[in-house]
């Protein structure tokens, strides 16, 4: 009985030590592609996706003929097809027309285009949530369309759009793992490789998951901090307290 106990403790002990050692060893191996690829891929795609989304939303709100229909068509296409398929078309499909991108660039393009479709809907509905009466009040004090948009509508829409836009940023962070399917060496593909080397898939994927979770935790904290900063009530209330 006692012997079995010792055997179990020893085996388990060795196993636990082995796993801890592997995890410590592999941590920098995972963190490097995370910082270099996953995070830059996320930020670049989000940046371009946001600019494109803003344009797509504004041409719809301003009701510009032709462009509005194009925006609706665009959203229809990019929301209606899988992100993975869009990645494949840009990376594997376009070369047959002589258009070649490396994996990283193809991923940035695909993520940006896909994200723009979703984010443009967020921005459009945020703009439309600002009561029309405020725009009318703006026109009545002599503002023009551009001034009404930049001074009144967009600042308020930004606050409404902020939480869902942040959600889409968090979603994108994890979706970048799809880039592993078009040869990009990001955190997920490294985790796959390391798992194969050590033959500890469970713990390797747990570790990668932990890093994703940490990034998203930081983003969530950042979100609630920025949301508080965006409150218009804050400054005046603080002033009155003084």
């Amino acid at each position: 009985m006692n012997d079995i106990g010792i055997w179990i403790t020893e085996t388990l002990g060795t196993r636990v030590w082995r796993i801890i050692r592997i995890m410590v060893e592999s941590f920098p191996k995972l963190l490097k592609p995370c910082l270099q690829i996953t995070i830059t891929l996320t930020l670049l795609s989000f940046f371009f996706g946001l600019i494109l989304a803003l344009i797509l939303a504004l041409v719809q709100v301003a009701n510009i003929k032709g462009l509005k229909q194009f925006a609706r068509f665009y959203v229809w296409i990019f929301r209606g097809t899988p992100l993975m398929l869009q990645l494949f078309i840009i990376f594997f499909g376009l070369p047959s027309f002589g258009i070649n991108f490396n994996g990283y660039v193809a991923a940035v393009i695909a993520f940006s285009l896909n994200l723009a479709a979703y984010n443009s809907e967020i921005i459009r509905s945020a703009i439309q949530s600002v009561p029309i009466g405020q725009s009318e009040a703006g026109y009545m004090i002599g503002l023009n369309y551009f001034q009404v948009m930049t001074h009144i509508v967009l600042p308020q829409a930004a606050r409404v759009a902020f939480p869902p836009l942040f959600s889409s940023l968090i979603g994108l962070t994890k979706d970048t793992s799809l880039a592993s399917s078009i040869t990009v060496i990001e955190m997920m593909s490294v985790a796959k490789r390391v798992a194969a080397v050590y033959y500890e898939p469970f713990w390797m994927y747990m570790e990668a998951g932990f890093i994703y979770l940490m990034i998203c935790t930081i983003l969530t904290k950042l979100q609630s901090y920025m949301e508080r900063r965006l409150e218009w009530k804050q400054p005046a209330e603080e002033e009155t307290k003084k």
Partner: protein, 249 residues
């Protein structure tokens, strides 16, 4: 000074204004009364070009024009000389009370910030809101918001201010403070067109009352006369109904 002739406006198949003639003279306070759905708010909104009328002639000072052919530029110039106070206040929620009042001066009229601030504070003083200058609309009561909205309309020194049921969205105990401000403005000689349900205000302050029903002006004249001695049956019916409601309250 400001007038419309033969204004028509339909929303779909619903004819809201059926040929309205209307004229405001300088320094005059006009109360537009009538039951809801009579078209009085639409009339006011057409005069501010917040609705595009289907037909009619628009006059403002020397300008007289087919209302359908007014250009964007002309509308903008007209609005520069007009103030508008909305039923739902419509303060800019991302700006403090002071910023709300300054916006028309700094952004639309390119007046230097310091000068604009001075004018804005003066206007807030006038409506008794100086101590709330740095508050955001969400932190103010309805009555306070409407007073700020009046200050915002005043700040640009308009030749005429249009009021669209300024107290209708307020709790009864808050209407007093807004009406008080409006009485003060009227006494100072501000040209005002007020769409209202406040009969007491109409009687005490308005020079002229216009009674609308079903898209036409049914009766118009001296306030005291129309309200105490209405000639038309429709006016009589309306006043009786309003009086009964006020007594019930």
């Amino acid at each position: 000074m400001l007038g419309v002739k033969n204004i028509h406006k339909s929303f779909g198949s619903n004819q809201v204004l059926k040929g309205i003639d209307f004229e405001v003279n300088e320094g005059e306070v006009i109360a537009v009364i009538g039951s809801s759905g009579s078209g009085k708010t639409t009339l006011l909104r057409c005069m501010a070009f917040l609705e595009q009328a289907d037909d009619g002639i628009f006059t403002f000072d020397d300008l007289s024009k087919d209302i359908r052919k007014t250009t964007k530029k002309e509308i903008k110039e007209l609005r520069m000389k007009m103030g508008f106070v909305f039923q739902s206040f419509n303060l800019f929620r991302n700006m403090t009370a002071l910023q709300n009042v300054m916006e028309g001066l700094t952004t639309a009229r390119k007046i230097p910030k310091e000068e604009a601030r001075e004018t804005a504070m003066e206007m807030l003083q006038k409506v008794g809101m100086v101590d709330r200058a740095d508050y955001y609309p969400d932190q103010l009561s309805g009555g306070q918001q409407q007073r700020v909205a009046i200050a915002r309309a005043l700040a640009t020194k308009p030749e005429v201010i249009l009021f669209d049921e300024p107290t209708s969205a307020l709790d009864p105990e808050l209407t007093g403070e807004v009406l008080e401000v409006m009485v003060k403005l009227a006494r100072e000689g501000t040209t005002m067109v007020v769409v209202t349900h406040e009969m007491e205000f109409a009687r005490n302050v308005a020079d002229r009352v216009i009674f609308m029903e079903d898209g036409v002006v049914v009766e118009e004249g001296n306030a005291e006369e129309v309200l105490s001695n209405p000639k038309q049956d429709a006016t009589k019916r309306f006043l009786r109904r309003i009086l009964r409601k006020e007594e019930e309250e």
